[in-house]
Structures are given as C-alpha cells and as structure tokens.
Symmetry: C2
Subunit: 415 residues, 2 copies
C-alpha cells in the first residue's frame, strides 16, 4: 500500500475508533498482550538479528553505543512491555467523559465531551518497545497511529507490529488500519507534511530527532527536545537533604530528561565545599564555568555556579533552562514559594529530586511523554494528553435571532 | 524600540504577570475601561481619519467594502468595547486554579496549577476594537501580548493602544511592556519566526490572513481558517423547524464563520421543494451542484444536495467540512445520536441553529475566538484557552531511588 493510502485509511479508521466502547478497547488490549506473549520467541529472534546487525554498525562507528543499548530486548523488557499493555485495561476510559454540562436555555443543553484527537504520527528511534506502548495508548484513547521506527530496529519493529496487527485483525469490532507502520526515511518527511491527515506528532528519541521534527513540521509536536533541569541550593538548605537530592537527581538515571544538569548554589550557603566534595565522591564530575549553561550532559557530569541570591537563580533558570523540571532546596518557605511561582517550567519542586517528573510517579498510570510545550499538554502527559473535546448541543428548534432580538434569554445553568 | 527589544521585554513582563493578584488585574481592567471612556472623542477622531483614507482605497479598489465596513467605530461599538472590558472584571480569575491535588507519598504533595501561556502574538485586520478586547483578555489571563493591526486602521489602533498603555503605566503594580504594538508589515514575518519568544499566535481576520499565518509559522495558531458549516435535513425533520433553523443559520449574520454554507437533504424528506421555496423567499440564493463543496460563501448563498442517507451526509461533512459546526434536523433520536457521534467537528448540533457556536452563547463570558484545532482548545474558546498549567511538587527530601529500590511506595491519594 502506498503512503497516501495508508494515511487516508488511518484517517477513516480514526472516525470509527471515536465511537468504540470501552469493552471493545479493553478486549483489543488483552488480545495485544496475549499475542505478544505468544510470539515472545519470534520477537526475541528478530531482535537478536537487529543486535547482530547493530553490533557491526557500532564497530564501524555508524551507530552509537547508547542507541545500541536501547535496542536490546530481554525477558524483563518483554515482561514490562506486556504488563504495560495490561495496566492500561484497568485505567478509566479517557473518551466520552462529560467535561461540562450546561443548560443554555430551557430545552437547549450543551455538553462538552472528551474525544480522541484523530491520527497520531509517532516517530521513534532504537527502542522497539515504543511500538507496543504507543499502540496500546492509542487503543485506549481511540486514536489511530502511523508508526515510523528507526532502521536499526527494523526486524524487531516489523515482528512486533505484525503481532499487534494480527491480534487486532482477529477482533471483528476493531476498525482495520487503526495501527499502521511505515518504514522508509522518505516517509518521515511525508508524515511531517501531512497536516491535513495527521493531528499530532509524538517523537520518541534523542534531542536531535526531536529538534529536527519540530523544525520541519506545522503539525503540533508533543514532547521536549532538551531536559536542562536545575537545582538551586538556597542559603538555608539542609546539607544532608541537598546532597541526597542532587545525587539522586544526577545519578539515579543520568541520561533521563529529568536528570539535573546545573547546580546553582547561594553564595551564603555555608556547606558549599562539603556538598561539592560529596558529589564528587558519588562519582559526579563537577564543572565550574562550562562552555554553555544550556547543555544536557546525559551523563554523571554536573555544571555548577555560585549565585548572589534567589532572584539570580530564577533568572538563570528562566534564561538557560528548557522549562522541564527545576527544584529548590531550602528551609525557607517564602523562598520556596517565590521559586515555584516564578520559575516558568512544567515542573517546579521544593525539596524533592527532579527525577519525580514522570507520569507513573505522578500517578497517571501511563505516560505518553514529557512535554515542555506551553499549549495543549505540559509536563508528564497521560492518556488525557491524547484527547480533545467536542461540543454537543441538543435543542428543540431554537434560533439565534430570538436571542439577538431579546425575545428569549439564555439561562446558562450548570446541569 | 526595535522589534527584538519589544519582544524580549514582553517575555520578561510575562514572567511577572504570572503572579499578579486578581485584584491588580481587575484594577487594570477598570483603568483601561475608564481611560477609553475618557478618550472617546480622540479615538473617534482617529477613526474618522482612517475612514477618510479607507474610502479613497475603496474607490481605487485597494480595500474591499467588507473590510472598510468593519473599520468603522460608532457610539454603539465604543459602548460595547467598554462594556466588554468591564464584563471581564466579574469573571473568575482563570489563573492559579488548582486542577489536581494529589499526595504522591506521605509528605510529598503534587498540585497542578493553571498558569498563563506567556506571550501571545495577535495579528488582526480592520476591526480596531480587537485591540481593546484582546488586551483585556490578556490582562485577565496574565499573558503578555504583541499586537499587529492592519494598516487600514493604523490611526485608530495607535490611539486606542496609547490609551490602554497610559492606563496601565499609571498602575505601579502592573508590569511595563505587557501590552505591545508593532506596526510594519515586516514585523508580521518576524513575529511568526519568534517561536522562542511567542507561545501562541491568535489571528483575527479573514480566511486568507489565517491561512497565510498557519502556513508560515511553527508557533501554535489558535483559530480557524474556514467555517464551512452544514445542516443535514433528515427524513423525519419537521418542515417548520428546518425552515426556521436554516434561515437563521444562513441569514442572521451571513458572513459569520458559524453561518451554514451547505444544506444536505435526505432523499426521502417529503417537503424538500417547500423547504427550498421558503429559503428562496427568505432571500437566499440556492445553488445546486456548486463548483466546490468546500467553499465559504459568507453571503446569502447556500449550496445544497440530496443525499441517500445519514451515512452519506456524515461522510460528506467529514470530507468537505472544516470541523467547525454542523447540525442535523431530525425527529429521530437514534439518527441524531449517530450524527453527533460521527461528525468530527468542534460543534455537533441537533435541532438548533449553527449560529449558537459562540463563546457568549455558550456562557463563557468572553471569547478569544473559535478554534478548529484538534489540540489545546477546540470550538469557542474562553479565557481558559489562554491558560496552561504547571506542576508544583512539595516534599521533604524524597529521592526516586528509594521508590525504585522498593524501600518506599507511592500512595497516589487525591487530596
């Protein structure tokens, strides 16, 4: 099937998906989980082949070790993948929720109802488990998807996709062409150009992939390019707490987007030397005066700087940060409030690790990604981020002229 | 001041605006309303000058009569402008509302708080009252704005802007450079390119302006290019109701975006001839088989077509419509439900005029515009559409490692 047919079919499927019952969607999720369980061996074999090919590319320098590492599926990852699909079954259906019910006048009622966005374009690198995760989120939220994975995982992606497709095709009630995969590099450019058919692009991968996508499409993009997170150590910070939080924020998973990259220390904080010593002992390389304050190390490297006061810290963060997650460590409630009010980021924290910025930790059950956008969805995005709403208005022949002429009046009563 | 300074100042102001009290914002609105009242004469004089210049352009064909008509301010429009600002004072503050409060664990609470988007770019044509309306909405929602009006209203725009600026400058608590105006045509291109500084573009004007903007920026655009609304007359429609609703939807304000453009009539509807006769008698030009089904007449012209059944009607609307507002006239509840569920538009109506699609009529108090987007805000957009949210997390030294190691467990209790 050629690209335009795929995308037109996806659009048609999306209209049918909007009205699927929660039961059908949960049946589909169960079928997908079962099918992956049944095809475990086949998926692992395809992955082994990608790993052999990938290793050659690592040897010749065409593939980075980091990407190669994310390529590998093991039994744990397979189990997590299957559990992730099953977890969604238990979550509330995000579609057809009544967000507002209002009587506009006697016999004329307005309902704001949540509905799916339509067609999602997912462009991802390496990690083949993204297919399962995103397909499952799309099923639960009644969206159609076009998936484009990286060529380094092409065998694994294909087998997982076929596994999911087979499971869904066996369910008569489930619309065909809801989950689609494209393969070629040219298809990425085509996807980014399809604003009439694709309603939202979700990139899953490194900064350069996300930046490329953001710069090359007019379709809304949900996600973040950079995760330049800060911790500000206020004058009154508790040394032990500060040390534990910075170590956790930097070392618990250094390449995560919510890992800290810059430490700002109040010039009057008395234990500055002790803090830095402890961080070094924890294996963190401390950089004074880095080349750029807007750099994501994704490694056990931390830039640091002494600041005059809270205002300078806030200004630094709003200037160099990426609006992801920033924390203050302080015993002063006033300063903490000031920091949380004035730092313009998706997550603003007092006395906790930046690593808490995550859909599972926030209790959203499932995570689409973390957004640094200022519209639609910000911060960790759960299933709600894959929905929008429509207004349903039921009347008995009302016309606007009667209200414009003053013959009738709106009641605007909540129902 | 040059463009980059203006935009940088606006960004700085936006950070301060985020934390203004509701009282200060309402004082600002009152000051703006008073200042416009005081400068009524001066504004009308500037408008008279634009009208003289505009008339010349109409005579030479450089300005359309439609745009010229929207240019004119009269006492009624001035009153409405002032009343519109005062109305906002009574509305709830959309900022700093708690949208979710959740205990993640003992001593660690998460709050999702509404906050302003940041800097809004407003690009508008003709109607100088847009400045007042948008500035007032920005004040209430704590956003900074960059305004760019059409050159046909340059004198009126300048005087209204100075009136607002003066009122705000007299209020010490109100951040300077919150409301900004730019004038040159090149500034539009610059605005559309400033995705680092401008968070949302709101165009107010004709289709071609909106289309141009959507095609030339990566900043999210809130609005709609086309308003191609449909009414489907089902087999069981009541003739009188159908006639009244179609006349209202087409003639009450033919150039409105929520006016109907296409009438689809079920082939078994018995009173098709009577209906069309009545519409013609109401001064509507009926067009059978138009050149395009995706055309917005903005006039007393209505395309129409006989359809086989409900499914064909739904398919036609999803294919040719603009996702704005579409209605079914039917006595069959099942068919109405089917239509409302399957038409993918911001507003889906049963037995009411499409003209109800409007923020005031929905009871939103103020309207930013009507959006056909599938993300952020859809349909008539109130003050909420100018907000986003941030997550505030308060803890006592919690680190992620303890939860990853299973030493601690999330409680995820709603507060």
């Amino acid at each position: 099937m050629d690209f335009l047919d795929i995308i037109k079919n996806a659009k048609k499927a999306s209209l049918k998906l909007a009205n699927l019952s929660s039961e059908t969607k949960n049946l589909a999720l169960e079928a997908v989980a079962d099918s992956i369980e049944k095809n475990r061996q086949k998926i692992m074999e395809a992955n082994a082949q990608d790993l052999v090919n990938g290793q050659k590319l690592v040897d010749t320098g065409e593939l980075s070790q980091a990407v190669f590492n994310r390529l590998k599926l093991d039994e744990n990852k397979m189990n997590a993948m299957i559990a992730g699909v099953k977890d969604l079954i238990k979550l509330d259906d995000p579609i057809n929720k009544c967000l507002l019910a209002r009587q506009l006048d006697k016999g004329m009622n307005l309902y704001k109802m949540s509905c799916p966005i339509g067609v999602l374009g997912i462009i991802f690198e390496a990690r083949p488990d993204v297919i399962t995760q995103v397909s499952a989120l799309a099923i639960k939220s009644s969206n159609a998807v076009i998936l484009k994975g990286g060529k380094e995982a092409i065998n694994t992606n294909r087998v997982i996709f076929e596994t999911i497709e087979e499971a869904l095709n066996n369910l008569n009630e489930y619309p065909k062409y809801s989950i689609n995969q494209v393969f070629s590099h040219e298809d990425v450019a085509k996807m980014l150009d399809m604003s009439d058919y694709i309603d939202l692009i979700i990139p899953r991968g490194g900064n350069s992939l996300v930046k490329f996508i953001k710069e090359n499409t007019k379709i809304p993009v949900l996600g973040h390019a950079d995760g330049i997170c800060h911790i500000f150590i206020d004058e009154t910070a508790n040394l032990k707490m500060a040390t534990e939080i910075v170590i956790d924020s930097k070392t618990q998973y250094p390449s995560a987007c919510n890992a800290v990259e810059t430490l700002l220390i109040h010039k009057n904080f008395k234990y500055s030397n002790e803090l830095i010593e402890s961080l070094k002992n924890a294996g963190i390389k401390m950089i004074d005066a880095p080349e750029s304050w807007a750099f994501e190390y994704s490694d056990k490297i931390l830039a640091y700087k002494s600041v005059e006061n809270l205002d300078e810290a806030i200004e630094h963060i709003n200037k160099y940060g990426s609006g992801h997650t920033d924390a203050i460590i302080s015993s002063d409630i006033e300063n903490a409030g000031e920091f949380l009010d004035n730092v313009d980021s998706a997550g603003v924290y007092h006395n906790v690790s930046t690593r808490f910025s995550d859909g599972y930790r926030y209790g959203f059950g499932a995570e689409v990604g973390i957004s640094t956008n200022k519209t639609h969805a910000r911060g960790p995005v759960g299933l709600d981020g894959l929905t929008i709403y429509k207004y349903k208005l039921y009347g008995r022949g009302q016309i606007v002229k009667d209200y414009a002429d003053g013959k009738k009046h709106f009641t605007h009563k909540e129902l």
